[in-house]
């Protein structure tokens, strides 16, 4: 395959491209769904294809095909060249920052290849967890999923880079619905790891699923929080979500270059309290595996915020050149059909020195907002507002964690919320998901996020109470 990609790239150069890149992808994924004690579906897929990106007269063209016959890839190349030429009449000079050509091959850690594990065993793991979650007659629905994913990519460009990556991830997700008289509530959560099937064998999934049912049983009795602006303590899953939505997206170099992001022009500015240091790193325990981005640039560790000061954005080769800095290895594509755009990898906060009690003790009136059972988030990077749905959370009164609240949606302002992080905990947890991903411009990519427990001085909590 490398040779075919190299030929395509060479042909693109002969036909006038100043830069060309061909990427091949080979994905195998399986999703096993079990519901109320029975197998619901076992779906598996193989996805393969080639994507070609060319730069002609300083303009981009991109084309892809899943059919690998040579007439199809030749047509895709011609289409990419044609689109680039058409765009060149309406675009400024697009250029790429210089990088050193690299040849490398990287594989994420695994012991047991999930494709070599029988369907029976995958079904059994899901079924057992599913049955364990039927904890009481309040539980009206118990749904469990197992996901396995193998994503192999080869990227060859006209500057001589050739990168192969092979990442493997597995995980289990569970949803429980509880009903008490006319009230219903659902709680869902998942745990995934870049690992082989051993992770699905070794963890205690029955306990994990049981805990979700227990949360649902409690949540159905819980009230919604009081609406308003409060102090809060966020857990590692939730601070991960906050950082990802509040800061991660706004630090993406393409959104900075087009001046969409509120973080544009803020390098060197204090945007968070001095306790806050935020990193984007390609390989982190618990996170997704990104040794290189889809432009063959190594993804090391990028310091985004150091002691409260904005130090760097996330960059592709294009956004790096536009802003006069070095690329950070953040140009990522969902798949071969998509062109690389600036994305986060594993975006997380470094731990501090406070234990949990110290974080809680000074909170007079607020909430302990938790990620498990939450629903993700969204951000308006231009308007500067972010939001996300927390899982079942708790009221804090006079330094003590009190009753559970549900239906907690939180929002804040990118330029203000992190300035009110008064204290940072001494724990650290980064997580990723085999089931979902982070969306931008129609592309979903796998990301990791996390951090320690933190105390936030001011955040808006929605609620009908």
């Amino acid at each position: 395959m490398e040779d075919r990609l190299a030929q395509l790239v060479q042909k693109a150069r002969q036909k006038g491209a100043s830069f060309a890149e061909a990427r091949f992808q080979d994905v195998t994924s399986t999703l096993v769904a079990v519901e109320n004690g029975r197998l619901k579906s076992y779906e598996s897929q193989k996805l393969r294809g080639i994507g070609i990106r060319v730069l002609v007269r300083h303009s981009w063209g991109y084309a892809s095909c899943s059919d690998l016959a040579s007439k199809s890839t030749t047509f895709a190349l011609a289409t990419a060249l044609k689109l680039a030429k058409a765009s060149s009449r309406h675009s400024d000079k697009t250029e790429l920052s210089q990088t050193t050509p690299i040849t490398d091959s990287r594989t994420s850690p695994r012991k047991i290849d999930p494709t070599e594990v029988s369907a029976e065993e995958k079904i059994r793991v899901a079924l057992e967890a599913n049955k364990a979650a039927m904890t009481s007659n309040l539980i009206k629905n118990s749904a469990t999923r197992i996901g396995t994913l193998s994503d192999k990519r080869i990227s060859v460009n006209s500057e001589g880079s050739e990168i192969k990556t092979d990442s493997c991830m597995v995980g289990l997700g569970h949803l429980s619905v509880a009903k008490l008289s006319s009230d219903m509530e659902r709680v869902s959560a998942q745990k995934s790891l870049c690992s082989g099937f051993e992770y699905l064998r070794d963890e205690n999934w029955n306990q994990f699923a049981q805990e979700i049912s227990q949360l649902a049983e409690k949540a159905v009795r819980a009230r919604t929080p009081k609406a308003g602006t409060f102090e809060a303590v966020a857990d590692p899953e939730l601070i991960g979500l906050i950082l990802h939505e509040a800061f991660g997206h706004a630090s993406e170099g393409d959104l900075v270059s087009t001046k969409e992001s509120v973080l544009e022009g803020q390098i060197g500015t204090v945007l968070a309290s001095p306790q806050v240091t935020i990193l984007d790193e390609g390989i982190v325990e618990g996170g997704y595996f990104v040794p290189y981005d889809d432009e063959a640039v190594p993804k090391g560790r990028t310091i985004i915020v150091e002691n409260g000061v904005l130090k760097s954005y996330l960059h592709s080769r294009q956004s790096a050149l536009e802003l006069g800095v070095k690329p950070t290895g953040n140009a990522r594509a969902m798949d071969f059909e998509s062109n690389p755009i600036v994305r986060q990898t594993n975006f997380y906060m470094q731990p501090g020195d406070r234990n949990f009690e110290e974080l809680i003790e000074d909170v007079k009136e607020g909430y302990y907002i938790r990620g498990r059972g939450g629903g993700g988030g969204q951000v308006d990077v231009g308007g500067g507002t972010f939001t996300f749905a927390a899982g079942p959370s708790y009221h804090i009164h006079n330094g003590e964690v009190k009753e559970m609240v549900r239906g907690t949606t939180v929002s804040g302002a990118i330029l203000e919320t992190l300035k009110t992080i008064y204290a940072v905990g001494d724990d650290l947890q980064v997580t990723t998901s085999v089931f979902g991903g982070c969306g931008k411009e129609g592309q979903l990519v796998k990301v990791g996020d996390g951090g320690p427990h933190v105390r936030i001085g001011k955040i808006t909590v929605g609620g009908s109470g």
């Binding site: 579906s41 076992y42 981009w60 063209g61 991109y62 369907a119 062109n339 239906g407 929605g462």
Partner: protein, 456 residues
């Protein structure tokens, strides 16, 4: 290999290799897209084929999908599906794939010109919008915008003489306009999703976003309170999608994860609330001659005058309830590597076109009748609301305060909350006459007498 031939061949092969029944779903999709901001960023084109094969042995089901029809790929897809079926568990509720398939006459879901538009034409059109916004006002610029077309051929075959094929086209236009002056910044989005190029009015759409972005430069949160709210058609459509699309189907009901369980024949909304699943709406984004397992689409009333009438069925869930399929089998095409690729999934019942009937009030009348409140035009995070508990939260990005019947100060950064089930029964004041779609959900604007606003 054509989609039709591949589907037929897969079914025949599965039967030959021992499947008791088989179904094949094949798509060939072409997409063209231009990403632009204050210049053209990139023109893109893709051609994706895909086949999803479901086989039954005994009552055991296996499914496998593949993005290639070349060489031995169809055969290997069938063989893998069979091996999964063998390892699977029998499903006592399994009856069969649909035995009565066919097509309904539908209109305006395929447009030849849209299918044939070349990417360079889209580039030119996008460039004209860039020029329009730039020349309109020097405070304005475009960010993260896109214009695209798609053309899809879908073939379905099964063991009961189902050999159907349909074609469809789609167009999408999204603009995000930024206004900036003296450190103040406003952002507004507008978009259109339709079936044909003819339905796009690019410049008018960009103009609406541009005018509003200028006003939003002064937006700020308001204080926490309870207040009447007028919600735009597009946000109503997105809320209906969250609150109904995953729970009004028989699958969720039968499995015990729907709030609509036991509510057929009961009042679940005010008597002005009429919700229908319209599978044959002209040019509808969910309109198809037949659903994703070959059953003709049709119109199913869901809520009439506030009373719940029916759930939505595919063949599997219908046979469990001993009723007929309502033609709602849908392959969702979700998940990281399934996104936009329906062939990667087996069908589940879901809305075709979910339509909230329009009322008589104009948007202006709804605003004029509000002495103190908010008009919400755009929000983020409404899709994170909970359709099981009905707890609804939306973080407002574009809104205006209403005072004495007119739009006053711009607002952003507050959370609007309520319980959806109570909102549609107790606080639905007025339904507008301005239906717009968000994907396959069509809704007018509406006014609610009371919602909670969390702000400063």
């Amino acid at each position: 290999m054509s989609a039709r031939v591949a589907a037929q061949r897969a079914v025949a092969l599965a039967e030959k290799l021992g499947a008791h029944e088989a179904e094949a779903y094949v798509t060939r999709a072409t997409e063209r897209m231009v990403d632009f901001h204050d210049k053209i960023e990139i023109g893109r084109a893709s051609t994706l084929v895909g086949i999803g094969v479901t086989v039954i042995t005994g009552k055991k089901r296996g499914f496998f999908s593949n993005s290639s029809l070349e060489g031995e790929e169809v055969e290997s897809t069938v063989r893998t599906a069979l091996s999964i079926a063998k390892a699977s568990e029998p499903d006592p509720d399994w009856k069969s794939f649909p035995t009565k398939t066919g097509r309904r006459t539908v209109s305006a879901v395929f447009d030849k010109r849209t299918a044939e538009l070349e990417g360079d034409h889209l580039v030119k059109e996008a460039a004209s919008i860039v020029d329009f916004v730039k020349s309109k006002d020097k405070r304005l610029s475009l960010v993260a915008s896109a214009l695209g077309t798609s053309s899809v051929v879908t073939s379905i075959s099964n063991s009961y003489d189902c050999n159907l094929q349909r074609r469809s086209t789609g167009v999408s236009f999204f603009v995000r306009v930024k206004a900036e002056e003296a450190g103040k910044k406003g952002i507004s989005d507008e978009g259109i999703q339709a079936r044909s190029w003819k339905e796009l009015s690019l410049q008018d759409t960009a103009d609406v976003a541009a005018e509003r972005a200028i006003k939003m430069m002064n937006a700020r949160p308001v204080s926490s309170r309870e207040t009447p709210i007028v919600v735009s058609n597009e946000i109503i459509a997105r809320i209906l999608n969250v609150m109904f699309s995953g729970t009004i189907n028989a699958e969720s009901v039968q499995r015990g994860r729907s709030p609509w369980i036991g509510k057929i024949g009961k009042q679940v909304a005010s008597d002005t609330f009429n919700l229908v699943d319209d599978g044959v709406r002209k040019a509808g984004m969910g309109t198809r001659a037949f659903d994703d397992e070959g059953v003709p689409q049709r119109t199913t009333p869901i809520i009439v005058k506030g009373i719940l009438q029916s759930y939505l069925y595919d063949t599997y869930t219908a046979s469990k309830d001993r009723v007929s399929s309502t033609g709602n089998a849908t392959r969702v095409g979700s998940g990281t590597f399934g996104l936009g690729r329906p062939y990667t999934q087996t069908p589940l019942p879901a809305p075709t076109n979910l339509v909230l009937d329009d009322g008589e009030a104009t948007l202006n009348e709804m605003i004029e009748e509000t002495s103190d409140g908010l008009y919400i035009i755009d929000s983020i995070g409404e899709w994170l609301s909970n359709p099981i508990s009905g707890l609804l939260n939306a973080t407002v990005t574009n809104a205006f305060e209403i005072r004495n019947g007119s739009l006053e100060d711009p607002v952003k950064g507050v959370i609007v909350s309520g319980n959806f089930f109570e909102m549609i029964t107790k606080s639905l004041d007025l339904i507008g006459n301005d239906v717009k779609n968000s994907g396959n959900v069509y809704a007018p604007s509406a006014k609610f007498s009371r919602m909670r606003v969390a702000g400063e």
